[in-house]
Structure formats: C-alpha cells, structure tokens
C-alpha cells in the first residue's frame, strides 16, 4: 500500500508570537518550527499501516526551504521518501491554492491512501485535506482515530461530537484527515536519523499562484480582552496567600 502523508511545518507551541511589521503575518525571524501535531499522528498511522501491510510511506510538505527539516524528521521516523513543494508565497494563496499545489504533487504519486492532519496549529483552517480530496476526486472521512484495511477498502473510526464515534467504510484510494491521540507517537532513533540522510528528499517548485485568491488575510493582531481578569502578582508565596483568600471568601470552596 502506497501512502502519502501531508505534513505541515508550524511554529513551536511555546514560541513567543509577535505581529510582523506589516501587520499581515507574524515575525518569523527567530521562531522555531516543528511538525503540526495531528500530522505527526497521521505519519504514525501511516508507518503502522506499512508495518502491517507493506508498501511505502511518502511525506509531502509545501513551504519555504525550512520545511525540509520537518520532512527530514519524518524520514528519520521511518518515512521512505519526501517531497518538498517549494513555495515562499503560501501566505498569498488561499486554501484552494495551497491544496492545489499539494494535490498536484500527490496526484503524480498515485497513492492508495492520503493522510493529512485534521487541522493546522497555525492557520487552523481545518479544511486543506477535504479540499484535496475534492480536487483529487477521492472519497474522504475526517477526524479519524484508527484505520483498518479491509477486503473492500478501509474501515475507519471517526470521532463525532460529545464523545460519540462511528465506523465508516470506503473504497480505496481515499483521503483521511487524522485526529491526535489514536496511537502513541514514536521517536526518531539514532539509527533512523542516520538512515534518513540517505533517503530521497525531492524538491519541486510549486506552480505559480492563481491570479485571484477567493479569500485574503488582511491583518493579524492580539485579541482584545473582553473579560476583566484580576491578575494576581507577587512572589509565589504571596500569590498563593491571595488565592487562598479568594478560595475562602469569593469562591467559598475552603
């Protein structure tokens, strides 16, 4: 089974975020980057499917040069090949534009299964996977926890709202958007890191962006606080004393 996993590189969660000078995106200078969390689970699922059924796992990521470090990490964890779709102007493209360059790279691979994360930690659009499925003409299912290969295709466990789940069946090829938590993530071993150096990481240049995107990000800014939060300051001991007073007098739980 040939599986393509779309992995996005996103800022580290703990990164201090500053709005860029033009007010249209964040300052990228001193940010550190990592793999988008649900994509790490998508990769893990792909690696486990390969271990069970054989085949190949190819990772694909679109973005500037720095994206290759995340693709290398995926290779170190066990992916067989990587495709870097190089584009420095992803921010100028809408979701459809980003999905299109990824879909072009994926179509050329003609995989049996495409896995994406359900949502990116930075843009949080929650739709690139579904848009790709539509562009590639594949059946899809979203927010998937587990994947099982059957005689007629796939049987997947889908998370629903309020703690419900259901199984969904579909033929292959197909696309799934993966939720976090379905598996335990593996770490890259030293051996894996060494092996990754010899693996193929191919760079393709993304096709030029469409003339007119259908949505434009105009401005980013810190949210205005709507609620008045009383901030407690002082040494940890002082703050603890204040909190105890609040627990006694205001909240009345002590």
């Amino acid at each position: 089974m040939k599986i393509v996993v779309a992995v996005k590189q996103v800022p580290e969660r703990d990164a201090a975020i500053r709005v860029g000078a033009d007010g249209r995106w964040i300052e990228e200078e001193d940010l550190s980057y990592t793999i988008n969390e649900p994509d790490a689970y998508a990769l893990e699922e792909a690696l486990q499917l390969k271990e069970k059924h054989g085949g190949e796992v190819v990772v694909v990521g679109a973005g500037p040069e720095r994206v290759t470090s995340t693709l290398r990490e995926a290779l170190a964890k066990g992916a067989d090949r990587a495709i870097h779709v190089e584009a420095v102007d992803l921010g100028e493209r809408d979701t459809l534009g980003v999905a299109q360059v990824l879909a072009d790279a994926i179509a050329a691979e003609a995989p049996d299964l495409v896995l994406t994360g359900l949502q990116s930690d930075d843009l949080g659009l929650g739709q690139t996977g579904v848009v790709m499925a539509e562009l590639l003409g594949l059946p899809h299912a979203t927010i998937i926890m587990q994947v099982e290969v059957t005689a007629s295709g796939l049987r997947v466990k889908q998370e629903l709202e309020d703690g419900w789940f259901q199984h969904v069946e579909m033929p292959l090829p197909a696309l799934l958007t993966m939720q976090s938590g379905g598996n335990k993530l593996r770490y890259a071993t030293l051996m894996g890191i060494k092996k990754a150096k010899a693996k193929e990481l191919k760079t393709e240049t993304a096709a030029a962006a469409a003339a007119s995107p259908s949505a434009r990000l105009e401005r980013v800014y810190l949210p205005q606080r709507q609620k008045h939060t009383e901030m407690l300051t002082g040494s940890p001991a002082e703050v603890a004393a204040k909190l105890v007073q609040i627990l006694k007098n205001d909240v009345r739980v002590l």
């Binding site: 899809h140 009383e230 901030m231 909190l243 002590l254």
Partner: protein, 327 residues
Amino acid sequence: MSNGPAGGVLVVLEQHDGELHRLSAEALAAGRMLAAKVGGRVECALLRAPGQAVALTGVPGRVHAVEHPLLAAYTSDGYTAALEQLIRTLTPSHVVLPHTYQVRDYAPALATRFRQVLLSDVTAIHDTETGPVFVRQLLQGKLNADYRATGAGPCFVSVQAGSFLAEDAATDAAEVVAFAPVLEAAQIRTRAGERFREAAHTVDLGSAAVIVSVGRGIGEEANIPLVQELADALGAELAASRPICDSGWVPMERQVGSSGQTVAPKLYLAVGISGAIQHLVGMKGSKCVIAINKDEHAPIFEVADFGVVGDLFEMVPELTKAVRAAR
C-alpha cells in the same frame, strides 16, 4: 422547484434525528447579522429524507427542505451534491454554516465545487465601507486575523460555537418549501455504521464542585503528581486537556472539552492550559475560573476571573501548601 432571489444569505441548519443541532440557531443569528450588512434576505436550508419530521421551532422565514431518500443518513458526498444543487438554484451571495464536525466534513468540498474557500470557524463579522470582514483565530487563539472574501462567490462562512448569540425564538412558523436534488446511490462512496460511545464514564466530572485541570505546561508524566496533590488538598477532581489524555498521562475519561466532558464546577483551576476553543467550550460554564500560565497572552485568561502569570512549578507547590495550611 423553489425560486429564491439572487443574493441574500443562505443558512444551513444541521439536524440529527429530527432535532436541530444547538449551533444551528447561532448560525442563523450570524446569517441575520450578515444579511443586515450585505443586504438581501435570510433563508435556511435543511437536509432530510422525504417525510422526515424536523422540529423547526424558532426558525423564521423560508426553509428550503432538501429532500431525498439518500439524505436519510449523513454522507459528505450526498450533502455536498445536494447543497451544490440548491445553491446553484438560489444563488445566495453568502452561505453560513455552524462550525460543527459535520460541516468540517463536507463544507470545504462544497466550497471547492464553486472554486471558493470556506472562511472557517469565524468568531465575528465586522462592517467596513468595502464589505464585511470575517474574524478568525490563529495559533489556537493567540492571535486574531481579519479575512476578506475576494472571490466571485458565493462566500462560504462557518461560525464558531458561542460566538453569535442565538436570538429569541421567533413565533411565526417557518414556511417550508421542498427542494428535490438529483442524487444517485453510486455517487455516495462512504458508508457509516451505528454511533457508539467508548466504555461508560466512571467519573462524572459534570457534577464536581471543584476541578483542577492540567495541560501541556506540565511537561511530562512524572510531574502529574504535582497537580494531583493540589487537587487532593482542595478535595477536587483532577481533569486535563486533550493532549494530556492523548499521551495517557491522565485517563481519557477526565478530558474536558468539545471531545471530552462538559463541566460547570464552582471552581475550575486551569494549570498550564492555553485555552484553545475546543477546551474552552467544555469549561466556560464554570462559576469561577482561575488560570495559572506562564504566558500572559494565553487565551485561557480571556475566560479567567483570576489569573496568575507564572511558572506552575513554582506556583502549584506553594498553593498546595497554602491550601493545606488553611484547611
């Protein structure tokens, strides 16, 4: 065949087993607000099997009931094809949907059929001289962003839970007009089984009076006892954000949020939790929220009554000590 006016706002209501999803009313509120800005009337759409009863209390005006036997159960393929046909017939300028799991599943494909993108999980709509601006959160709520639709339309918008307040129920009954899409069984490529839940919850956080909840700021599993001790000192239940449960550091049944439990204790003490929307929807009904987080911009402070900007590894042991002393 119904002939709606060109333009206007079409709100897609979501129903499960004949009951409207609770966010349908919020999508309707957003749709009405948007129509006030962009002009045109507001109409609703609803997908169902022919003859299926759906309670439409509180829904005013015209409802296009998109009816077909293949819509008896939700499928992305069925919903996408059916709504595409309705939208091509009505030609609304905007289509507003609730940002539910179901909408996440089909709306991006639906927008793609029109070569548009979905403006997803919108929290506010502002008026400008050059048209509406849609506000979305970035980086899990750390930043806001203004988006503008620049395509030929229709403009697809899904709205975040809790962002647009549902209005008082209208008293007039809806005028329901049927719309019959052309669908074939072969178009539908996925098949869903029965819904099920995992093993019954043995802890009912919903009735806990005090909850200490821990997030990824705790760093590693070995540090969990730190918050457990605070919870014990307070006589509280321990809860956690999703990544903590995903890692197996705290049992899944203690997860709070949209895919976990919804809680409303007297006190919710959030330790090292950033406050992503999927977490907030599960706990913002708490009477008092206290948050400890080292990042002063963490979105959790948006819903906190009292906040402490600081290192939980210094703060939590001090607090445990002070609580024990006060007992």
